[in-house]
Amino acid sequence: MMSQRRGIHLDQSELLCSKGCGFYGNTAWQGLCSKCWREENQREKQKQIQEDWALAERLQREEEEAYASRHQRAQSQPTITPFSKFEERKTKEKSSKVNTVTKFFTPSTKTPPKKDATNVEVQSSSSPSSSTSRHSSLDSDHATREFIDFLRPLKPGKEIFKQCRAFTEGMVYKRDMSADELSECVQDFYQNLSERLHSQFKGSTDHVESIMDEVEKYMMTHLYKEVFCPETTDDEKKDLTIQKRIRALHWVTIEMLCVPVDEEIPEVSDSVVKAITDVIEMDSKRVPKEKLACITRCSKHIFNAIKVSKKEAASADDFLPTLIYIVLKANPPRLQSNIQYITRFCNPSRLMTGEDGYYFTNLCCAVAFIEKLDGQSLNLSSEEFELYMSGQVSPQWPQATGAFSCSSSSTALSQVHKRLDLLTGLGERQERVMEKARKLESDLIDWTDEVEQKVQSVLESFPAENQSPTAGTASGTASAAASAIDSDNVENELLPPPLQPQVFAG
């Protein structure tokens, strides 16, 4: 009917937005203009979002209160809690050098949503969080919201959320437990919950798995800081050991490992660079499943490199050496910590039978191989191996290449090409490092500003103490020193009276 009226004169009022805002309305938007329609439509959504935020904020508050109360127990001066917390974080991070650098590489620590930024400005003096903890708590909030959104349509959603939250909060108090005990706790929780989802809520296998993925994401986002590379383990020491080891093996070539990829093919060298990037990226993820996804992506790039080079699907015989090569090239940060963390806190079914689990297992194999590797495993004599390890001789220009049984034709020219490719790869990596360094720099500037602001606000809120002479000496001017001497205090009274100059006549 409406369509037949096209071209017929319509009363102007029929065309206008029924809200009377003066714009034209549209039947598709129930007679409203786009602006009013959006407002109307968004109101419902907005309400929902605000409710979620309220919940997330409450959770956050609870968490911070729990945190603060733990600190009050440790530190007897509650008034300086914000700073002591700050200090503690700093020293904790200083104690693990690897930590500090890589933490800033986490892409998620960048650009907090506007909402929170304004919040912090308004109540900067009351907000106790440092910039790092603010970012991480934002991540946690975000994870909480996503978890709630995911659970909302599920019948047992509320129940699942309550259990997960209670468990996660409880874990915070178990930080003195050994890593194995923590792992045991989390794994028991996963198992009990998935059993209940199967039996009580009659979920299908796939459905339960997808719920468990979200559970893991929510819980591990919250627990990451507490349970990744915990101080109760020697994970960090192992990280440094393997890192040094890989650096010492810089001379290992594709030929020695019998890696079936030809990096002279552009697509292959491209896949190699991508694989390296992916395995490095693993460290920036918080959730075990997301770390696994990095390894899987890395593996797929490796398969592509093999497939393009060999023109056939990669078998394990091809895959493992190539993965070892990639790990040697990448020297991924905190490799052992990441492996341990995944082993301890990932959903077990994913590790046991899943595809991700297969690639992860191969990564574990690669690391074990690198740790144990000797001359024999590279088709070298032990003398050669020692020479290369000591850095006295470099195998770049092979004298007699009989040992490289798998190398096709390793002429000097192809070596040069390989070096060049490697250099371009390295150049790209350096660029990425620079990019991240710049980010780090801007983060640091933000951080200093924030500290300055806080110091200022504390100085303002405690003006009386600032007047004390010891606090004032920072300026160290002569007049300040003079006034200190002149001021009457006990010490001055103990001084002998000033000497009077005596004049002798004659």
Binding site: E184, Q187, D188, Q191, S194, E195, R196, H198, S199, Q200, K202, G203, S204, T205, D206, V208, C258, K300, F303, N304, I306, K307, K311, E312, A313, A314, S315, A316, D317, D318, F319, L320, P321, P348, S349, M352, T353, G354, E355, Y358, Y359, T361, C364, C365, A368, F369, K372, Q376, S377
Partner: protein
């Protein structure tokens, strides 16, 4: 698992991990590609990789998800075996019937597996390449009696001719199911759940899915 206990056996999905072990070039990759993709020496590549393949089966009304893990067979990777076969429900130990040495390697694997995993793993010893019977260097009797002596089952296959492969995997799955059910009964009797059993076989109650939402077959 504890809650599911010994309840009705219909509507369960078993997830099994099976590792392929054996010397290089005996035909491990060929066997699994034949089984999962029905391909042999096929240059027309459809899968990106042949190192991790899955197969879904339905055995007497029960669903089985089989994950087959290829392992690197080079000698220098031998020491990594335990990392690969940890938590596996079955192992397929492959030798080449024309290669005496490869059979010796299988014996080494058997010793190692029994030492590390005891009887918690189903062992299959597979003599592959029976199409080359005229060059056979491992006698049928010797292989079969050896298998029996170590509690393993022996199979003869040819990836080239697609012989004996379906039977091998089907039989293995049945044995792994039996083992899983025995373990389940044990748990139903109130045996304590150790960490190892938790990370062991996975059996889950499962409602028949109304929606046959794709996602079958290999996820590679």
């Amino acid at each position: 698992m504890a809650a599911g206990g010994t309840g009705g056996n219909s509507g369960k999905t078993y997830s099994f991990k099976v590792v392929l072990l054996g010397e290089g070039c005996v035909g491990k990759t060929s066997l699994v590609l034949r089984y999962c993709e029905n391909k042999f020496n096929d240059k027309h590549i459809t899968t990106l990789q042949a190192s991790f393949l899955t197969k879904k089966l339905n055995i007497t009304g029960k669903r089985v998800n089989l994950a087959i893990w290829d392992t690197a067979g080079q000698e220098r990777f031998h020491a990594l075996g335990p990392i690969y076969y940890r938590d596996s429900n079955g192992a397929i130990l492959v030798y080449d019937v024309t290669d005496e040495d490869s059979f010796q390697k299988v014996k080494n694997w058997v010793k190692e597996l029994r030492k590390m995993l005891g009887n918690e793993i189903c062992l299959c010893i597979v003599g592959n390449k029976i199409d080359l019977d005229k060059d056979r260097h491992v006698s049928v009797e010797e292989a079969e009696s050896y298998a029996e002596s170590v509690g393993a089952k022996h199979y003869h296959t040819s990836a080239k001719l697609n012989k004996g492969i379906e039977e091998l995997f089907l039989d293995l799955c049945k044995r792994m199911m039996e083992m899983a059910q025995a373990e389940e009964r044990l748990k139903g009797n109130g045996a304590s759940q150790s960490a190892s059993s938790r990370r062991g076989v996975q059996i889950v109650d499962d409602e028949p899915q109304a929606t046959p939402a794709g996602g079958c077959c290999s996820s590679g």
